[in-house]
């Protein structure tokens, strides 16, 4: 693996674009593991956590947030140049986030309604994932991400192994846990079969259908699931809205929601 910095511990930087900060906070939220993590890596740039801001190059860049302005585009390109490995975290950075809901509307109208002086606003017409602009080495899904998955990715990097992050469905996690399927046993609509695992199947574990926070799984058959949504009594609008949340602009979810837009 290429290393750009000279210190013994890998130099890590955490960057933020359009996002709520929840994902980068999960690193600080990893209370039991935080000291170990801090011992294994050199946190060189993490404005949310520390005033210490070392210049690049960095061994690992962790990026949260979506790209929404021309300035963002320039900035992410600079970041890419300064990081040997670039990891994006969360639905914003990997799919454009909840703010990608604006991608279906004319942004100019919003700018005029919201801002007193719209002439100062410079924005792209869509909110897009980091991967639309630069090469990303690893995408960690979730809204928010699972802190244990983030530690696993860092851990795998440190030990030069493949991270144990699965792209299969949430159903796999439900069955491993022994959850009783909410859709089959209760008729509750659930995005689990088309959503990537990683959250630990939280919602189905508490009698709720999956909301798709981790985005499309590796081979999502959204069309077949949408047909089943109708079987359990969901309307076209329900189906459109189910696919249009935190990962609305992820390809498979975007196409499915558009198929139910009349």
């Amino acid at each position: 693996m290429p290393t750009k910095s000279k210190s013994l511990k890998p130099k890590v930087a955490v960057f933020k674009f359009a996002s709520c900060d929840g994902c980068q906070l999960s690193l600080l939220d990893a209370e039991d593991e935080l000291l170990d993590v801090a011992g294994a890596i050199d946190i060189a740039f993490f404005p949310e956590a520390s005033r210490r801001m070392l210049k690049g190059p960095y061994d690992i860049g962790i990026v949260e947030g979506s790209i929404t302005t021309p300035h963002d585009v320039e900035h992410i390109r600079e970041i890419r140049k300064s990081c040997a490995v670039l990891i994006t975290i969360g639905a914003c950075a990997t799919a454009g986030g909840i703010q990608a809901l604006r991608n279906w509307k004319d942004i100019k109208n919003y700018v005029h309604i919201v801002y007193a002086s719209p002439e100062y606003i410079s924005t792209l017409d869509r909110s897009l994932p980091v991967g639309s602009f630069v090469h990303v080495d690893f995408e960690l899904r979730g809204c928010p991400i699972n802190k244990y998955q983030l530690i696993e990715v860092i851990n795998a990097f440190l030990n030069k192994r493949k991270p144990n992050i699965h792209a299969y469905s949430v159903c796999m996690d439900c069955k491993l846990k022994g959850n009783e399927c909410v859709m089959v046993a209760r008729g509750i609509p659930c995005l689990g079969p088309v959503t990537q695992s990683g959250c630990g199947a939280i919602c189905p574990s508490f009698d709720r259908g999956c909301y798709g926070c981790f985005g499309p799984m590796e081979s999502p058959n959204t069309q077949a699931l949408a047909a089943q949504y109708k079987e359990v009594g969901e309307s076209e609008l329900d189906i459109k809205l189910a696919f249009r949340t935190f990962n609305a602009y992820a390809d498979a979810f975007r196409k499915e929601s558009e198929a139910h837009e009349h």
Binding site: E33, D36, V37, G39, A40, I151, E152, I154, N155, A156, L158, N159, R161, N164, H166, A167, Y168, S169, C171, M172, K175, L176, G178, E180, C181, V182, M183, V184, A185, R186, G187, C190, G192, P193, V194, D207, M217, E218, S219, N221, Q223, A224, L225, A227, Q228, E231
Partner: protein
């Protein structure tokens, strides 16, 4: 051993206490969160008295009919596989020791399960997994130890679900072999009792100690009626004649594309299947890299990683993954183990979120073949 006993409902409680007294963890059906689940039970009061389940493709609903039956449901969502072959298990760990390292084998947990309420089809599935894990070259010692220690109380079926097709697979609704004790629950005007058959000496001894009395001919007859009535309720079927060859010869049937349009590739069918045995092994480390461990986790032939090898993936399409699963169950399994890998429990139909029905898919593939032959 061909002796049959009549047990009163109170005797069942005594049977449980005797098993627990011998150090068994008693696992049986109990009311879960919207389903009947197999879980730890301590008394007969934990059994789902009066509860039944209605199963349809992609649907499972329970209701209480106020009846007396303790085993009036059809099946729990997951089989006994969970206990004999747990979903996650650490296999070994490695500790760095200066410049060398030591390997520490993770010991099998000494588990002594008594399974109460194993359905005949499920029992057949256990016997199939026995072949997979204990008969061949690659023996699974953890499975073997759990299996050797297990005590099986089968309960013959008094209720057939709409997805049951055990008659076609010759696995039910009456247990043939592999049990320590087989019970048939009889509820009629004459009362509520069990007819118990011992399948092993151990089972016979326990039945003696439970206090059962020899079953009369009439009682044995009433028990037979229960399973006959269940058999007559079974509507689903799978024609197994020549099936192994038919599937092997129809790898390119256009019907595989049809089912692939509906298949979610979510893996539910394989996870609930009582014979599916595939697992992945994963390596993990601590942050410092001083220790590493290898874990076995249930996997599914529907996941993409399953067929990912150096240089690519040999089952990219959902079509190839569904075909792999179905043809393994009903064709190549026979080559491998000498029997079908399907016991007709119908779980893959019930728990498929879109209700894909293995029996209907097989019929369709056969139909396509006939159509093509006629067209040719």
């Amino acid at each position: 051993m061909d002796k049959t006993y009549r047990l009163e409902t109170e005797d069942l409680e005594r049977l449980l206490q005797l098993l627990q007294g011998e150090g068994y963890e008693t696992i049986g059906p109990t009311l879960g969160n919207g389903t009947i689940v197999y879980d730890k039970i301590t008394t007969a009061k934990d059994l789902p008295k009066g509860w039944t389940d209605e199963e349809e493709p992609a649907s499972y609903r329970i209701s209480n009919n106020g009846g007396e039956r303790m085993f009036g449901y059809t099946l729990a969502p997951q089989s006994w596989k969970r206990f004999l072959y747990p979903p996650l298990r650490e296999l070994f760990s490695i500790r760095r020791n200066g410049k060398s390292f030591e390997t520490l084998r993770t010991d099998s947990e000494e588990k002594k399960f008594a399974f109460i309420g194993v359905r005949p089809c499920e029992l057949s599935a256990v016997l199939i997994q026995d072949k997979v894990f204990t008969a061949g070259e690659y023996r699974d010692d953890d499975y073997l130890s759990r299996r050797r220690n297990a005590f099986i109380v089968a309960v013959n079926c008094a209720n057939a679900g709409a997805n049951c097709f055990c008659l076609s697979m010759n696995t039910g609704p009456k247990a043939g072999e592999g049990f320590d004790i087989a019970l048939t629950e009889v509820v009629n005007d004459g009362g509520h009792y069990f007819v118990a058959e011992a399948g092993t000496d151990k089972g016979a001894t326990l039945l003696e100690r439970t206090g059962g009395i020899a079953a009369s001919e009439r009682e044995r007859g009433e028990a037979e009626e229960v399973v006959e009535r269940t058999a007559s309720q079974i509507t689903k079927s799978l024609d197994t004649r020549g099936l192994q060859e038919i599937l092997a010869e129809n790898q390119e049937s256009p019907h595989w594309d049809d089912v692939a349009k509906r298949c979610l590739t979510c893996g539910n069918c394989t996870m609930v299947c009582p014979t599916c045995f595939c697992a992945a092994v994963e390596d993990s480390t601590d942050l410092s890299g001083k220790t590493a461990s290898r874990t076995r986790r249930w996997d599914s032939c529907f996941t993409l990683d399953f067929a990912r090898v150096s240089g690519g993936n040999f089952r990219i399409t959902p079509k190839s993954r569904y075909r792999q699963w179905l043809t393994h169950k009903l064709s190549s399994w026979v080559e491998q183990f000498g029997i079908f890998g399907c016991v007709g429990c119908g779980r893959c139909i019930t728990w498929c979120p879109v209700g894909i029905d293995i029996t209907a898919e097989v019929s369709a593939i056969k139909g396509e073949r006939v159509k093509q032959e006629k067209g040719a």
